[in-house]
């Protein structure tokens, strides 16, 4: 503990000195060294974010505060990127005395990083908002989504009524799913719905595992627990590795859903491989899974993919 305190104090005083020295010897500012030196993706973007957050320059702090404010207003969307980021980037160029002609590739690289950093922050807010919406059986929009989930997962079986034991086939606890979303709210339902809609094969495959006579589990309930896991990984920043390394898009709600689908698919695999005695082993295997995922995410070079093709052979 003492060592840590001494180190952070030293770091506070030494950082400007080290930065000054590197700047003089490399003739590049820290952001440039990161953008040129670090691999594109989580490694580079996290380093840029760290550098911006540690900056003691007033103008840089203002840029950060400005972008945070844009995120709070939910205006950080691709259509606005040019308007929002151009002034920010030119402020950084001015302060760091960077010659745009000499460094033509720096601006687009930095821009990409800024897009990722603040898209992630906006996503955290968006996901939080969705989680806070309680499932409401009087809301026809919520009800339609729930019924759609059924028809996607059980296309050949009609629901006999809105309140029925049939819900247990897809892993809800009782005869009405409305009380099962709990603290994950609408986020839990949206996650399940995305899995069933976008990955019909994978979700059917996972659902059939959940019906296994010996290793069966409650599909929807486990799904809602995985929503909670994805939510915490997003909130504490662990999911940055996944989001920043994604080739598909910037961090947005669909990418979060994809992350969830990945977790579901992988959890199911681990569960079946663990050959659990019964559902009471869920807590232990879930914890083990959480640790495994966190360790993968702690390596910034990890790229995540669902290997569904392999499974169909």
């Amino acid at each position: 503990m003492l060592f840590l305190n001494v180190w952070s104090l030293l770091h506070w005083y030494l950082r400007p000195l080290i930065k000054w020295f590197l700047r003089k010897t490399t003739r590049l500012c820290e952001l440039q060294r990161i953008c040129y030196g670090d691999k594109a993706g989580a490694q580079r973007t996290c380093a840029v974010e760290n550098s911006l957050m540690l900056s003691r320059t007033r103008d840089i702090k203002e840029v950060v505060a400005f972008l945070d404010a844009v995120v709070l207003e939910r205006r950080f969307i691709p259509a606005n990127f040019d308007d929002i980021l151009k002034p920010s980037i030119s402020i950084i160029f001015r302060i760091k005395k960077i010659n745009t002609k000499l460094h033509p590739s720096f601006a687009p690289t930095l821009k990409r990083c800024l897009q990722q950093i603040w898209s992630y922050r906006q996503l955290v807010n968006e996901v939080e908002e969705l989680r806070r919406v309680q499932y409401d059986s009087d809301n026809s929009d919520h009800e339609l989504k729930l019924l759609k989930l059924w028809s996607l997962l059980q296309p050949n079986e009609l629901l006999e009524g809105r309140v029925t034991k049939q819900w247990q086939t897809i892993g809800f606890q009782g005869d009405d799913p409305k009380t099962d979303f709990r603290g994950m709210g609408l986020l839990g339902l949206e996650n399940l719905l995305y899995f069933a809609t976008e990955y019909p094969q994978a979700s059917t495959h996972v659902l059939s595992h959940s019906h296994h006579p010996k290793y069966g589990y409650t599909f929807a309930i486990v799904g809602i627990n995985l929503t909670s896991m994805a939510y915490y990984l997003l909130k504490d920043g662990s999911a940055k590795t996944y989001m920043f390394n994604s080739k598909i898009s910037l961090p947005n709600i669909n990418l979060f859903h994809r992350f969830y689908c990945y977790l579901f698919y992988e959890f199911d695999k681990m569960w079946i491989e663990s050959k659990p005695e019964n559902i009471m082993e869920f807590s232990i295997i879930f914890k083990k899974f959480d640790i495994a995922i966190r360790s993968q995410l702690s390596d910034p070079s990890t790229v995540f993919r669902i290997n569904i093709e392999i499974d169909n052979i």
């Binding site: 989680r131 099962d180 559902i279 009471m280 869920f282």
Partner: protein
Amino acid sequence: MGLLSILKKLRSNSERELRLLLLGLDNAGKTTILKQLASEDVTQVTPTAGFNIKSVLSNGFKLNVWDIGGQRKIRPYWRNYFENTDILIYVVDCSDHHRLEETSYELAELLQDEKLRGVPLLVYANKQDLASALPSSEVAQHLGLHLIRDRTWQIQACVATDGTGVKEGMEWVCKNMPIKK
């Protein structure tokens, strides 16, 4: 009583570890009560697949609280956790009128089990903040608590989401510890 024996008593008390078993139907509020006891955020709970366990220090006791999922499919496993239980806590969602009978039945089953014989019972009459919630006295009647002769029991009205009544229930637990050597 000499000073030494008082000290001894204090010491043995402070080292006492108790096993609390938290049961009830799904959506009764068991996990929320568990989190409330551990002073954790209660707004992000999920349905319990399997069980949760937390150790809480209260009035000099170390309480090991076992929260077992309440879903029908899981209930057959409840009995695997009966052994060495010091206090049984049963949680009822007082606004769930449809399942009052079901929850009464499950409680009656528990009270008949050999492994839980004589174990003190605390019933949390939860969700008292909801307009449709039955008062705890009525819930007690439904559960037939006044017919219990073989153990001490208590019913405590509570609102698990904001903590109202939860502490009072735990105070009863600490006062009604079974005497163990």
